[in-house]
């Protein structure tokens, strides 16, 4: 699944035509779903009005070809609720929401948050677990069990701890209760998650190397582990390249692939020409420049 970056013009305002091109690019190059705006899409650098505007564009451009989910996590939970209602109004297929930011909520507070969110809309709700970025705040297996029991539209989790035990504690609790519960991960970490019941991941590098993403997904789902290892090592190396000041370097790499999407909003830096040249040399070394589509 692809989560597009957010294109900006040189004056840092939203670049709608480029966003539309990018959405279409992802659909044409094998994305199984679109989800926007993840942190990669600079969600927290956008106003709520901007998020609504582009969410509408995503639903309109994708036009039912694949599912579209909206990432509704905002600093204020009240904004999250508003974005969730909006996603339902515009015809999105689901929403994604992380555990609340900043206030290190207790398990009970996280529980109350997801109950309120799920009951406020009819759409499927995907939760998002990211303990290493949120001071250890995390979704546990027990919490997942309670939420599944109470909420028919609590449909899945993006489990981004990248840790065998944390993933397993959630997956074994969830899949025992709801076999079609969507166990997802982040950053293309498909190889370690698929054998545990994982069914997909949001991609970091899909705007650079959609072919590699699709090949890795197919190799994992078909259990071709030697091929999957080779592809996972390669795509994970790209993650090391891009995770620094994410998504600055990713946007820099997109320039090199003929798909410029403009700068990154402050406080994140924009990739310098030197950084872009380094990224280009690494993409060349990995054979990405010749094996992946150039331009739109």
């Amino acid at each position: 699944m692809q989560s597009p970056v957010t294109p900006f013009k040189e004056d840092y305002s939203l670049d709608l035509p480029t966003f539309e091109r990018l959405l279409d690019f992802h659909v044409r190059t094998g994305a199984t779903a679109i989800s926007w705006p993840h942190h990669k899409g600079e969600s927290l650098n956008l106003t709520i009005a901007e998020r609504k505007l582009f969410a509408e564009a995503a639903v309109r451009v994708v036009n039912g070809r694949i599912p579209v989910t909206v990432h509704v996590s905002a600093l204020a939970v009240e904004d999250t609720m508003e974005l969730a209602r909006h996603a339902q109004e515009i015809g999105a297929d689901g929403i994604l929401a992380i555990t609340p930011y900043f206030c290190t909520p207790s398990i009970e507070a996280i529980h109350a948050y997801f109950v309120r969110l799920c009951r406020s809309i009819d759409l499927p709700v995907l939760s998002y677990n990211s303990p290493s970025y949120l001071a250890g705040v995390e979704i546990t297996g027990d919490l997942i069990s309670r939420l599944i029991e109470q909420l028919p539209n609590f449909a899945g989790v993006k489990e981004a701890s990248f840790n065998s035990e944390k993933f397993l504690e959630i997956s074994r609790a969830a899949l025992a209760m709801r076999p079609d519960f969507a166990m997802l991960t982040g950053v293309e970490y498909l190889l370690p998650s698929v054998p545990l019941g994982g069914v997909g991941s949001y991609s970091a590098a899909g705007s650079i190397c959609p072919n590699l993403c699709s090949r890795l997904f197919d190799a994992c789902m078909s259990g071709d582990w030697p091929l999957a290892r080779e592809l996972q090592y390669k795509i994970s190396w790209l993650w090391l390249l891009f995770r620094d000041q994410y998504p600055s370097s990713l946007k820099g790499g997109m320039v090199m692939m003929g798909r410029p999407v403009g700068p990154t909003r402050a406080p994140l830096p924009t990739a310098t020409p030197e950084r872009q040249a380094y990224i280009r040399s690494e993409l060349e070394r990995l054979g990405i420049l010749e094996s992946e589509p150039h331009g739109w």
């Binding site: 065998s164 370690p192 998650s193 054998p195 259990g223 999957a228 994970s236």
Partner: protein
């Protein structure tokens, strides 16, 4: 140096007598149990074997005893982690002299030295012997210095007998980063799962596993390991989930829970040493109840 593949490594607990002393009769019995129950090798005394609660002379005596008892039937790997580099080096040399097949060491206890000194710590311990050296990466157990892939790759360049990493970080990013480069720099380099959560590690390329739960559920451990070794990873999921449930039941009490579970399975190895407290009667009964609820344990032997 020819690389050694440890395979499924059991990590026995250490039985103690009261008031103090190692119960060597019981330890002999336990070693025989592990060998009969499917161990490809033994690693001892690991943290599950209360290595840090053994006095200096005891630790040496335990390794000597185990090697004699095993008597070449399977490899014995000695755990030599210590705070002081020279103390760990001495344990490593002793283990090699007495016939250990390999050594294991983790980061220094308590200190938080700079990365260059952590590297030096491992280089010196490994260079003290001519047998394979495995680095044990256990960030949750070890509060001080941390290991990353970069350190491991530097260690390959500096230490010819650095044979692999035993991973207890369970961190996909670390394992993938390590395995992208390490086997290319050192053919035969091994990744071992540091506990019985092996499926993801095996997908990434792990070939071995340390099994602290082997004294409780050796059959389940063996089945999981064999499926992972044969890369039957979808098929391994069910056993992985069962063993994760067992691990969670034992996790809160650490070694005390592990020894309590050994007793519940009919293989009494006594209580842990201070400062670890044994489970009280209520906690023990609760644990027994939880073990009863794990269906996979019903196929396991309830005796020696």
């Amino acid at each position: 140096m020819p690389m050694y593949q440890p395979g499924l490594v059991h990590t026995p607990v250490t039985p103690f007598t009261r008031p103090r002393g190692i119960d060597f009769d019981r330890y002999a019995k336990l070693i025989e149990f592990h060998l009969a129950a499917g161990a490809d090798a033994l690693a001892l005394p690991m943290h599950a074997g209360e290595s840090v609660s053994l006095a200096d002379g005891e630790r040496r005596a335990l390794v000597e005893f185990a090697i004699k008892q095993v008597n070449g039937r399977k490899p014995v790997i000695a755990h030599v982690s210590e705070t002081g580099t020279a103390i760990a080096m001495a344990l490593a040399r002793h283990a090699e002299e007495r016939g250990a097949t390999a050594i294991i060491a983790t980061t220094p206890y308590y200190w938080t030295p700079p990365a260059a000194m952590v590297l030096e710590h491992f280089v010196r311990i490994g260079a003290a012997v001519n047998i394979p050296f495995f680095l044990y990466n256990a960030p949750e157990e070890m509060q001080g210095a941390k290991v990353n892939a970069e350190l491991c790759l530097k260690l390959i360049a500096k230490l010819p007998n650095f044979a692999g990493v035993i991973d207890l970080s369970l961190d996909w990013q670390f394992m993938i980063e390590l395995m992208t480069d390490a086997p290319r720099l050192r053919p035969g380099f091994q990744l071992l799962a540091g506990t019985e959560l092996m499926v993801s590690a095996a997908a990434i390329g792990a070939t071995g596993m340390l099994a602290p739960l082997a004294g409780v559920a050796p059959r389940l451990v063996r089945e999981l390991y064999d499926l992972c070794r044969d890369q039957k990873l979808f098929e391994a999921r069910k056993r992985q989930e069962q063993i994760a449930a067992l691990r969670q039941a034992l996790k809160p009490g650490g070694v005390a829970s592990l020894k309590a579970a050994m007793r519940a399975m009919g293989r009494d190895c006594g209580e842990p040493r201070p400062p670890v407290l044994a489970l009280d009667a209520v906690a023990y009964q609760k644990l027994v109840g939880e073990l009863e609820s794990i269906a996979a344990l019903r196929a396991e032997a309830r005796e020696w």
